[in-house]
Symmetry: D2
C-alpha cells in the first residue's frame, strides 16, 4: 500500500484524475470500475474537462455495486454515474458495464473474459465499508454477491435516508463486487477526504484485520494506492 | 498506437503530466525514462506542483541519451533534467539512473534487472529522430549504443549550435537507448506540439517504415500513446 | 530474444509443451494462438497426455491463419488443429476462436477485447514466413489481413501441392494475423527443428530486417523465446 | 484460485516442472521463489534434466525462508536447495538470492527493486503452514519477518526432530517471507501430494479464513494455481 497525502480535496482530485486520465489515453483496452458518491465528483469534472470530445473507445467502465431503482431498468449507482460521469464524458453505451440484480453472479467472469479490471477507483465509508461490502454482511472470501438490507444492520438507516431522498421504499437487497473481486483488480485507487473519514482511514491502516471493518482487507491488496487530503490523514501522520 | 489530439500545448501537458503522476503515486517500484527538451517543460511543472513534498521513493527515473559536458561528470541531458525536473521534484540521487559514455553497453541489462521500463516519455524530432536515434545513424536492431557526431550527418549543425550555446566544442560522440530499448518499454508516451512538428508526425504515422526516418519504428510498439496539440496534428486529421 | 537450444525434436517439444501447460493451469483466462503444422505435433501430444480430463475453462485458443476448405464452414487450419489438438485436448467449442475469411478485419479487436494474446506459439518457414506472412506479400505495419494466392509468388507451388493433397482447387486467398498482431502478443514462442530450417533461423537472427524475409521482424518483439533443436541451430552456434 | 488434480505425484511433478521451465526459457529476467522439501523433488529433477547445460542467466531464484545452520554462513533452506536444485541446475551464484537472519527486513524491498516475484512455488504443511508462516506465529499483515522457535508452539517438535537430524541444537528463531510477501507475488503455484495432506488442502479451501490455519490466506491471492495428486485431493472432489 502506498499512501500519498495532499493538502486539499482539490489536490486529491487532481491526482485521482491523473490516474483515470492515464487509462483513458492508453493504447489498449482498459477496464475501470469507478465509484459513485461525492468523493470523486471533482476528479470526474477534471477528467471530463480534459478529455471531452476525444475518442476513448478503448476505455471501458464498470459499476461495482447498485440497488434497484423504481421506474428504471438500471441500478441507482448506474443512474448516478450516468449523470455525473458517463454522459458528460461521452462514454459510449457499449463501453459501460453495469452490475445488476440479475447479472451479479456472472459479473466477475464477465470481467475476467474482458482481461480483468485494470483499475478500481473506490472510496472509504466512515463505517469501514468499501464498495457495498458493509459491516455485518461482508465475507472476505466473496466474489460479487447480493446483500440483504435488514433493519438489524448498523447501516440500515443510511439506506432508509437515501431511498427517502429518492421518494422510494428501501429495496430488499442490493448487489456488490466482493472483497475477492477487489483483490483481483490489477490496481486499486482509494480516495479519501475530510475529517469525518480520519478515524476510518486510521482503522483501515492499523486496526484489526476483520470482516467487521471490511476495508481492513484492502491492506492485503498487492497494488493499492491511497490518496488522502490532510483532514482525512490527520490521524495517520 | 493510440492518438489523442487536444487543442493546446497546455492541454497536451496536462495529459502527459497525468500519465507521469499516475506512476509517481503507484504502489510499487516504477521505472520511467523521461525526455529532456522544451516539449515536456510544462508537463514537468504540473507534476512538480502537484507532487512536491511527497515521498516518491518508488519512482525511479532514467535518462535515455546524453553527450559529454566539459567540466562535469554528468551528461548534458542529465544536467538539463536535473535542473528542469530531478531537483524541483525532489527525486533522490539513488532513484536517478543516468546513461553515460561509460555504462551504455550494460544499461539495458541494468534496466532489465530492475524490472524493465514501465514508461518512456519521449518527443519527436522534426527530422524524425526519437531519443538519440538520428537519420543516417539508426539501426532498428539496436539496444543502447554510441553515436559518432560527424559533419556529414544532416543533424551535425544542430549539435554545433547546441554546444556553441554551451560555449563548448562539439564532442565526438554521444550515447542513446536504441530502437530495441524503446520497443521493450512496457508503455511509451510520445508528446508532440507545434506546427513545426506536423510534417514529422504525419510521416511517422503514414510514411515508409525506414531507418532514414527513425520514428517510423514507433508504429511497431505494442503499447504507445501519442498526445499531440492541434497544430502538430493538423496534417493527420 | 532468448534462444534455447536442445539436442532433439523431443527435447524441443518438451519445452514447448511446458510453456503451453503453464498457461493451461493458470488461475485466470489465458489467450493462446497456436500453430498448426508438423513442428508442434509432439508438443501437443505431451500437453494432451498430461492435461487430459482436466477442466481448462480458462484456456482459450486462437487460430492465426487459415484458408477456405471446400465442404466446410471452417478454415483448413481450424480443421487441422481440431484433429491434432482441440478435440484430443477437450477444448470446448466456446473457447476456440477461429480467424476466418469473414471476421479477419475485426479479429485483432476481438482479441483486444478479451485481454490480448498471452502467448503465440509459432513456427518458422524455410522461406522466412511466420503465420501467413509470406515473402512478397508482407507489410510489417499490418494487423490481420487477407492475402491473395497468385502464381507469381514464390510460395504459390506450396499451396498448389497442399490443396492437391486435399483434392481441392487452390483458393484465391487466405487470411492471417499480421506482423503487428504478433508484435502485440505478450509472449511469443517460436519453435524450430530440423536442418532444413537452419538457414532460415540464421537469417531470421542475423540477416537484414526486411519484409522480403518476414520473420526478421520477430527480432523487434519485446518478449520472444526461440526453442530450437541442434540441427536447426547448427548455423547460429 | 484454480485447482488441477492429477492422478499421481509424477503427474503433479510434470505440471509443476512445466511452470518452472516456462520461466527459465523466458526472454526477460524472471524472479522465482522456490520451495525446499520433499514435495518438489521430482519436479526439480525434471527441470534439471530438460534444461541442463542451457544458459538461464535470466532466471533468478529466491529462498523464502531459512534458519541458521551451524558451521555455515548459509541457512538450512539454502543448503538444501543448493544440493537439490541450484547446483545440478547450474544456477549461477549471482542469480541466487537468499533470505537470511540478517537481510530479511529489507528482503521484500530487494525483490521489489528487481521487479517483483514472477512466481512462487510453495508447498502446504499438514498443519496449515506455508513458507515459514506457522500456526500461532502468523500475522496476515506481515512482510518478511523473524519467527521465534518456542516449546509452546505446536510445531516445535518438528524443528527439534529436524535439527536432531542435522546433529545440531534447535536455533532460537528463523526467518520467512510473510503472507503479504506471498500476496504480492504475481503468480503462486501450490503443489500438494499424498493423503497426509488431504485434510489440510480441504481446510485451506473451505475452512475458516484464520491466522490459526495460515494457508487459508492463500484464498485471497489474485493468481494462484493448485496442483494436487488424487490422494491429496480426495476430500475436495
Amino acid at each position: 500500500m502506498k499512501i500519498t497525502t495532499v493538502k486539499t480535496y482539490e489536490a486529491m482530485s487532481e491526482l485521482a484524475a491523473a490516474t483515470i486520465l492515464s487509462k483513458m489515453t492508453a493504447d489498449r483496452r482498459v477496464n475501470c470500475a469507478l465509484t459513485a458518491g461525492s468523493t470523486p465528483k471533482k476528479a470526474y469534472e477534471l477528467v471530463i474537462s480534459r478529455m471531452k470530445n476525444n475518442n476513448c473507445s478503448n476505455f471501458h467502465v464498470y459499476t461495482f455495486d447498485g440497488a434497484p431503482y423504481e421506474g428504471s431498468d438500471h441500478t441507482s449507482t448506474y443512474l448516478e454515474m450516468k449523470k455525473m460521469f458517463f454522459d458528460p464524458a461521452n462514454i459510449k453505451e457499449e463501453n459501460i458495464h453495469e452490475i445488476t440484480m440479475e447479472n451479479f453472479a456472472t459479473f466477475d467472469q464477465k470481467i475476467e473474459d474482458a482481461g480483468g479490471l485494470d483499475l478500481m477507483v473506490i472510496g472509504l465509508g466512515s463505517d469501514g465499508h468499501f464498495c457495498g461490502n458493509m459491516p455485518k454482511t461482508t465475507d472476505f472470501d466473496s466474489l460479487s454477491y447480493e446483500v440483504e438490507i435488514k433493519p438489524e444492520y448498523p447501516w440500515y438507516d443510511v439506506f432508509v435516508d437515501m431511498y427517502n431522498g429518492y421518494g422510494q421504499a428501501v429495496p430488499k437487497s442490493f448487489v456488490t463486487m466482493g472483497p475477492l473481486s477487489v483483490l483481483k483488480a490489477k490496481e486499486v485507487l482509494l480516495i479519501v477526504n475530510g475529517s469525518n473519514k480520519a478515524e476510518a482511514l486510521a482503522k483501515m491502516l492499523k486496526g484489526p484485520l476483520t470482516e467487521d471493518f471490511p476495508a481492513s482487507a484492502l491492506r492485503l491488496h498487492s497494488n493499492i494506492t491511497v490518496i488522502a487530503d490532510e483532514e482525512a490523514a490527520k490521524l495517520i501522520s
